[in-house]
Amino acid sequence: MSHPLLQVSDLTIHGDGVTIAPFSLSLASGQRLTLLGETGSGKSLIAQAIMGTLPQGLTPAGELGIDGTSYAAADVAARRTLWGRRLALLPQEPWHALDPTMRAAAQITESHRHVAGLAPGKARQATQHDLAELGLEDAGGKLPGELSGGMAQRVAFAAASAGGAPIVIADEPTKGLDAPRRDAVVELLARTPQAGGALLTITHDIDVARRLGGEVVILRHGQVVERGPAERILEAPQTEYGRHLLDAEPSRWPAPPRLASAPDATPVVAARGLAKSRGGRQLFSGLDVSVLPGEIVGVVGPSGCGKSTLGDMLLGLASHDAGEIQHAPGHRLGLQKLYQDPPAAFSSHWRLSRLLDDLVQRHRLERAAIVPLMERLGLDERLLARRPGEISGGELQRFAILRVLLLEPRLLFADEPTSRLDPITQQQTLSLLVELARERRCGVMLVSHDPALIARLCDRQLALEENAEAASRPSAKAEPVSLA
């Protein structure tokens, strides 16, 4: 066994409100290690500490051994020279990490030329080779803005590894990608260890950890909960939190209560022969859909196939080219929507209590109904004094459900409501949603690109076909709303 490529001993990080317990790892050529944990577990900080890109205010301590030479964790300057050459970082949301005004090929060629030191001609050849290998033959001339999520991921990978660095650190590589693309990313990352390098992956997705294999470390609040080979840890976790984390995988969820209402009850919404095209392309045609009160209908399909557009049509927010839609009689407020990115659905400048008061004042609602519903949704009273930006994504999404339920909705269109949440939070949120929908006989259309989740939760499924690989990447978060 050659000496380890990457040796980390007793790495600790401390700063304002953050303490990471001493952590060590050793990666030899061909080996992989995955740090698994929920948001706030400190997994990203460890990767950044190794790379040397910790934000101000956080100081690392401990020893690093790279290719046999040892570095003090705090000595970032020394590690800077290794960037690209010995240590490569694949950043989160790679479509933001590419220079928006430079063509994709150029951003790979510059690594070959300036990091690997190839002559201009050779660097261009190497780039063509990389692109061909990654199936991006015609993407070279495009700008990052024109690339889909998956394509951007592969371009970033090529650019990061062009320097020939044996050690690759991948930070949340599958965040914001749908299921088919997730598998492609795992296969992409596996190339490094196969070629004799070492791979360190940071993710909250259990399925990715299982496919990558190698050693898995489960982290919680900066502490190592459990560690060992992937087969053992991910099948039979020893610790209670480990089991709890694995049970959060949709395939292990308990089946929800059966739909009680009779099939012949008037559907909350019924649509026949729906057709819609966008930007000159036919999204779908001749589509029939209906939702009974309390029924959960799943909507599945690749990103960009028109799932959200269908929702907008049913809620009356968008027009439809053909077909007709009937709604069960009732107030327009009965049609509501849950959004994929909770903070984007709230104005970040006001306290939650103020937003709730507005709603109560606007519709003269029963103020007494709020407290029990909050308890039901596991929301602490004190949260009301905070602003949307100051509470977690999970809590904010449950607050959105509270807001919607106060209006006794008949139909709720949930557009990938939990794709950005951690597994455990996702499970809690969805089970609450289903429970309350059944109780209040509110029809739900649940959109997700995780087939296992849809299969487990929904009474019926609606699949939208595969279209030409649309170039629009996952509904990228809108321009950062918070002040630059």
Partner: protein, 276 residues
């Protein structure tokens, strides 16, 4: 129920939080305002009263800031000039901000042909040589305040329009407006809760820069003797009248320049990051 929300917006338009730099600017501006409006209370010299025997005198007890080239009391004149300049700045900011924000929101929100029309009108206005318009307007009504002020603030609204339109477009595309609309809130509520808190810091910055450029424009017009009629005390006019005596009585000319400098400096501090 509807009127409740109609009245509500005016009362509860929250002003943006200010950074320390901006707070310093606001403090400096407050000091200047106090100086401009409180001086006449305890120093009752008439800004136009002349004593040709006592011209360009050093500060004395009777005239704490000395006298100008016509023997007029500089303290009273500087205070009066500051009042006029601040009034002018406030006026030009309001008449530029209100249409600018209104059209900006409409263009950003509605988009489509309305956005294109308003956009081309703004571009055309910007192409008009502002200087020529001011000179023509001033020539129509020489020396009167209103022609001067309209000419200067005619072009200022375009900056507000452009910044507000860009910001509104981004916000309209984000889900928060759609969510509130689904929850049954009207357009006024959407403006008050979603748009205004986002626009307020930018508008404040543009207002501060706009006020500063309006004051400097009025001073420039005074320099080419197209400005206000004597004996009005205006910072630009005072500078020009005292310019010839820059060697003999530099402190006299320094006062209007210092007053203008502190005023514009405080506005720049208040302005924060330049959104252009």
């Amino acid at each position: 129920m509807m009127q409740a929300t109609l009245i509500a917006p005016l009362r509860r338009l929250a002003w943006p939080a200010l950074s320390t730099r901006q707070r310093a600017g606001a403090l400096l501006l407050a000091l200047l305002l106090a100086f401009a409006w409180l001086v006449p209370l305890w120093h009752d010299a008439d800004p136009a009263r002349q004593q040709l025997v006592r011209i360009l005198e050093l500060p004395t007890l009777a005239a704490p800031l000395g006298t100008d080239h016509l023997g007029r009391d500089m303290l009273a004149r500087t205070a009066a000039a500051l009042r006029l300049s601040l009034g002018m700045a406030l006026l030009s900011v309001v008449t530029a901000a209100v249409p600018g924000i209104l059209f900006g929101v409409i263009a950003g929100w509605r988009g489509g042909w309305l956005d294109r029309i308003l956009g081309s009108v703004a571009d055309a206005c910007l192409a008009l040589p502002g200087l020529l318009l001011v000179l023509l307007l001033v020539a129509i009504a020489p020396g009167n305040f209103w022609a001067l002020y309209v000419g200067i603030s005619l072009v200022l609204w375009i900056e507000y329009f452009r910044v507000v339109r860009a910001r509104t477009r981004v916000l309209v595309a984000s889900p928060q407006l759609e969510a509130s609309r689904l929850l049954g809130f009207g357009p006024l509520y959407l403006f008050r809760r979603h748009l205004w808190p986002e626009l307020a810091p930018q508008v404040l910055t543009l207002a501060a820069f706009g006020a500063a450029s309006a004051i400097l424009a009025m001073a420039a017009l005074g320099f080419v003797s197209v400005g206000l009629r004597p004996p009005t005390a205006e910072l630009g006019l005072m500078m020009i009248e005292l310019l010839p005596y820059y060697h003999e009585a530099p402190w006299a000319m320094a006062q209007p320049i210092l007053a203008l400098f502190v005023l514009v400096f405080s506005l720049n501090l208040l302005a924060g990051k330049d959104p252009r």
